[in-house]
């Protein structure tokens, strides 16, 4: 999976949307890069050039966030006036400005611009309530994890004709590109089924889209940002996850984009609480399994997380973090384990030669872990009754693989299944111990390990219920892996 794979085809999509006139002539991806970059960059530059068309450049300036007022330095009072006419909520702020500060600075309108920009930058640090800030599209939230990048994008559906008219081309093209495709490049995917429709965010109505791609394609993503001149529209990306730190410098030097780095656990909690509050297009966001062990009677049922606290939140990404959440802003990280989704997938790759998570899960669904694992009954011939250990319980994960004959008798599918069961059981038992230690009985499992992973979810549900004798409830959430990204988006919009 070369880092270029995502970038190159994405180029083409962007190209189609952004340069509609030339799209028909766009050659195959790859070789055309250099050529295409030229007109794009020129236009991008022109957007921030003070001499060019008032409305377009004003848009460019207005959308600027801290760190990039290179394009804003020479904006004029005139442009601001014109803006005021077009955007009523911007006016509020400007009226405020008129009352408070304008008398000092009349005739030095460019300083106004500077000050305003400085203020907007501060809004990241202090919750300044400037409604206008919230309208700087595009609205992204980014979560750069160890394996996957999760991107949430808010698509405004209440764009007025006027707005549409003044929307810069590149912004429009992003919107169209993201919303009209379900796959980006060979590895980027939009989870259409997760889309949240008719959401109201900061007074704007629209749809929330959920997109993911592998973290190793991050360089291509940044390169694309540079090529498309993201910096001209929206210079601060709210990003969380370890990658927000790791790629910060690349974003800045290659993409001219400043990342607003956010703590991943803060974002996770914000995200999950918010998403749970808006539901899932009229359905419940949170669910649990009834009869998880019985494949016929097993039912996925909605769960009302009305009283969420205290809550044990188990986030299973590449690794696992376990948080005890006591209120909206009181939580602690109880522990974590390095045996997570990355371990499952990594071991599966080694053991079965599979190349994708989907493939690993598909194999696991067809395998039988009891051929691989040594069960209590394999050692005892039945239950170990005295300590309540049923014969079916796993005594030693992969324990049968010590024997040559048994090794020869197992399939790759069996190994995949055993890996899945091993990792899941381990997470389940650590989560159970944490729940007991913290005295919490609701355990919410999230993270992309659980994506399309019913086996793991049902096993977690069953194991938690069985070993806690019904005391603990395993809960799951539809948008399992996206909460960090949602949290980052909320931070951008300063939604508490």
């Amino acid at each position: 999976m070369g880092a270029g794979r995502l970038g190159a085809p994405m180029e083409r999509h962007w190209g189609v949307a952004a340069t509609s006139a030339s799209s028909g002539r766009e050659p195959a991806p790859g070789g055309a890069d250099g050529r295409r970059r030229e007109p794009l960059r020129r236009r991008a530059n022109s957007a921030s050039a003070p001499a060019v068309g008032a409305s377009a450049s004003a848009e460019g300036v207005r959308r600027d966030r801290p760190g990039s007022y290179s394009g804003a330095t020479s904006a004029s009072r005139q442009r601001v006036e014109s803006l005021r006419k077009k955007r009523p909520h911007v006016q509020e702020v400007w009226e405020l400005w008129d009352h408070s500060a304008s008398w000092q600075c009349r005739g030095m309108s460019w300083i106004f611009e500077e000050l305003l920009l400085a203020l907007t930058s501060l809004s990241f640090l202090f919750p300044l309530r400037l409604p206008m800030l919230k309208s700087f599209f595009p609205w992204f939230g980014l979560d750069i994890g160890g394996t996957l990048v999760k991107l949430v994008y808010f698509e405004p559906k209440d764009i007025t004709a006027e707005e549409e008219e003044e929307e810069v081309e590149s912004l429009k093209s992003i919107r169209k590109y993201l919303t009209s495709n379900v796959a980006y490049g060979s590895t980027g995917i939009r989870d259409v089924h997760l889309e949240l429709k008719d959401l109201t965010l900061c007074g704007r109505k629209g749809n929330l889209h959920f997109i993911r791609f592998p973290t190793h394609d991050m360089p291509a993503f940044i390169q694309m940002g540079r090529d498309k001149n993201f910096s001209s529209l929206h210079t601060v990306f709210c990003a969380t996850g370890g990658g927000a730190y790791k790629f910060e410098q690349d974003f800045l030097t290659i993409g001219d984009l400043q990342l607003c780095k956010l703590d991943e656990l803060d974002c996770l909690i914000k995200g999950i609480l918010y998403i749970d509050s808006v539901g899932f297009n009229g359905r419940s966001q949170c669910y649990y399994f009834e009869n998880p062990a019985d494949s016929e009677k097993c039912q996925k049922l909605p769960f009302d997380l009305r009283n969420p606290y205290p809550l044990l939140l188990v986030n299973i990404g590449s690794g696992v973090s376990i948080l005890a959440v006591y209120s909206k802003d009181n939580y602690k990280r109880v522990t974590g384990t390095s045996l997570g989704g990355g371990t499952f997938f990594g071991l599966c790759c080694l053991l079965t030669g599979c190349t994708t998570f989907e493939e690993a899960l598909e194999m696991a669904s067809r395998g039988d872990s009891t051929k691989v694992d040594k069960l209590v009954r394999d050692i005892y011939g039945g239950d170990y009754e005295r300590f309540g250990l049923p014969g079916w319980a796993v005594a030693s994960s992969f324990g049968n693989m010590m024997s040559k004959e048994k090794r020869e008798a197992v399939s790759k599918e069996d190994l995949a299944r055993a890996t899945l069961i091993t990792i899941t059981n381990n997470i389940g038992s650590i989560a159970r111990m944490c729940a007991l230690n913290e005295n919490i009985n609701q355990v919410v499992f999230v993270g992309n390990f659980l994506r399309i992973n019913t086996i793991a979810m049902r096993l977690l549900a069953y194991a938690l219920d069985y070993w806690s004798k019904g005391q603990l409830k395993a809960l799951f959430s539809e948008h399992e892996g996206y909460f960090g990204a949602v949290g980052a988006l909320l931070e951008l919009l300063k939604i508490p």
Binding site: T147, T335, T337, L350, K374, D378
Partner: protein, 609 residues
């Protein structure tokens, strides 16, 4: 998990479908004589413990299993690997920024995380290391969670996974420290894999004679912890074969706690842990090495009629020397290393080569000489005023204690100058104030009401017990205090044994009416400690002694001698008054304690109300 008395080829689990082929090893040949054995059929290994009445010892052995060798290979492989090539570390996700976050970049974020994202081939070594880390960390974490849930701060790890491998133990320890933030301690056991088999054996043995005896490890027969690292000592591992040995002596009497221990669960007999204290360890190992010649000489001399005494003594020298060398390289090879364990190992090795009591003749002679002086000593004591007498008694106790063949400084003098007398010893003693001196407090106490009953642990034969302890006992008896005099069950150095103490008491009784009356009236009782060590473990004492202590309501414990009051029990907390006396007959130790050779320890303690 264990069956008792199952045959070696029997099996209940279907996973063990082959009969066990016993390798042609001497250890298994003993099995033919075995009266009883226990077998633990585990998931991957079968462990065996047996008891052979011929030797009165228990040996436990491990069966051969081909998967076993592979396991060692795997660990060997792991010790050469780099897990960071396979695992996703925090720094892989956070880049260089982990420092600013206060995270250690070397933490594993996702085990085997890299094996999913790269097309590279991974080396077996790296994969094995990563796997080892993953499993060890996970075990450590789960153990911590359970420890926390049950409010425990120590975790003992057993089972064959550990196998004495330092990589495994280190990773588990690291994991425990990490997850518990240092609050939980990881502890390992020398015979970690055999606990089930040993337990099954003991359980079976109990069915015959419940609580009729105790077991004690025999350091001479037991194997130490296997080599510390496969790279360091591959030959050691190969030579010692594939079995461990735990030899236990069956003591024909049950051992229990001294009822007067303040907190039996926290009582540790040993004063210094030589595993921790490298300086002291170095000194004591050298000290025991240097003393070895003298011990060998003494052993040969003790059996003048024996033709092979010299040969056996030489074998003893080799064995003990080797043990000392093992301990130099691996101080924890036999568990916590202490002066006591070094002394006990020497006694066990002497026994092994049939030198059960090298000092028997010396002790007899010393006793004879001392008994002759007894009446004279008593007369001069009786001539003193009360206060002078108390000090003279204590000085006598201390002076007697100088007569100790266990201490090299003294045995040299005794060898070269047999006329070294009691008075000479008194002159050698440090003048007051002593190194540790609570004599005034003790004197003050003696002015008060008499103790109800004193328990006295005697040390050496000869001058010590006859001219030091008995006059002191006599004084206590005259005050109306009952006395329990406890002596070792078996011989150790020149320490007085229970049987010897009976003879001595009889001889004294013949001379002294006070002792005679007390013996007759049961106010002076002689008991055995249950031990054959020059040191004293108050948590393993003869049950008869414990019963007596309880019955008589002992309210004073007197512990005498370096081995019992300094190397062990110096910090022992009791529920009653205690007197710990010793003369430091070792210049290094004296210096370490801030004194000189023949410094005096007089530690009188009264428990806090």
């Amino acid at each position: 998990m264990a069956e008792c008395g199952a045959s070696g080829s029997g099996s209940s689990g279907d996973s063990l479908d082959k009969s066990i082929t016993l390798p042609p090893d001497e250890i298994f040949r003993n099995l033919e004589n075995a009266k009883r054995f226990a077998i633990d059929i585990g998931g991957s290994l079968t462990k065996l413990a047996y008891y052979s009445t011929v030797q009165h010892k228990v040996a436990k052995v491990r069966s051969f299993d081909h998967s076993d060798k592979k396991f060692d290979e795997l660990l060997h492989l792991a010790s050469r690997g780099q897990h960071a090539n396979v695992d996703t570390l925090v720094q892989d996700i956070y880049g260089g920024a982990h420092q600013t976050l206060g995270l250690s970049g070397n933490l594993i974020a996702s085990s085997f995380g890299k094996s999913a994202t790269a097309d590279t081939e991974f080396s077996k070594e790296d994969l094995a290391k990563s796997l080892l880390h993953m499993i060890s960390n996970d075990i450590g974490q789960l153990a911590c969670l359970y420890a926390k849930l049950h409010c425990l701060d120590r975790v003992y790890f057993g089972g064959f996974f550990i196998r004495g491998h330092p990589v495994t133990m280190r990773t588990i320890t690291y994991s425990i420290n990490f997850f518990s933030k240092g609050e939980v301690q990881a502890l390992f056991l020398r015979h970690e894999g055999y606990l089930g088999a040993i337990g099954a054996f003991l359980k079976g043995a109990e069915q015959d004679n419940p609580n009729q005896y105790s077991w004690e490890e025999n350091y001479a027969g037991s194997s130490g912890l296997m080599s510390s690292s496969p790279e360091l000592c591959p030959t050691q591992r190969a030579r010692s074969g594939a079995f461990d040995l735990l030899e236990m002596d069956r003591l024909e009497r049950p051992l229990v706690n001294l009822p007067l221990l303040l907190d039996p669960s926290s009582y540790v007999p040993d004063t210094v842990d030589l595993t921790d204290d490298a300086l002291a360890r170095k000194y004591w190992l050298t000290c025991f090495e240097e003393a070895l010649d003298g011990v060998v000489k003494r052993a040969v001399a003790s059996q003048p009629g024996s033709v092979d005494a010299a040969e056996r003594a030489e074998k003893f020298r080799q064995k003990y020397w080797n043990k000392l060398q093992t301990l130099r390289h691996q101080p924890f090879a036999y568990g916590a290393l202490t002066v006591r364990s070094l002394l006990d190992t020497r006694e066990h090795c002497l026994n092994e080569f049939n030198f059960p009591d090298p000092y028997s003749k010396v002790k007899q002679k010393d006793n004879g000489v001392a008994l002759k002086c007894f009446q004279r000593v008593i007369h001069s004591l009786d001539a003193l005023g009360w206060e002078e007498r108390q000090l003279a008694l204590v000085k006598g106790l201390l002076a007697g204690n100088v007569f100790d063949w266990g201490a090299k400084a003294v045995s040299d003098v005794l060898e070269s100058d047999p006329q070294f007398g009691f008075e000479e010893a008194k002159r050698k003693l440090q003048e007051r104030p002593w190194l540790v001196d609570s004599y005034s407090k003790w004197l003050q106490r003696l002015k008060g009401p008499p103790h109800k009953c004193a328990l006295i642990f005697a040390d050496n034969s000869g001058v010590d017990v006859i001219l030091g302890v008995f006059p002191f006992v006599r004084e206590l008896l005259s005050r109306g205090t009952e006395v329990i005099l406890a002596c070792n069950s078996g011989p150790a150095l020149n320490d007085v044994t229970y049987s010897e103490s009976l003879i001595v008491a009889e001889r004294i009784a013949a001379m002294d009416p006070v002792v005679r009356a007390a013996l007759r009236e049961g106010r002076l009782l002689l008991v055995q400690t249950g031990s054959s060590s020059p040191c004293l473990d108050l948590s393993r004492l003869d049950e008869g002694l414990a019963v007596l202590v309880r019955e008589r309501g002992a309210d004073l414990v007197v512990i005498e001698g370096m081995g019992r009051a300094v190397h062990t029990n110096y910090h022992a907390a009791l529920r009653c008054e205690s007197l710990k006396l010793a003369v430091i007959k070792n210049s290094w130790l004296a210096e370490r304690l801030g004194g000189r050779l023949f410094s005096v320890i007089f530690k009188y303690e009264v428990p806090a109300e």
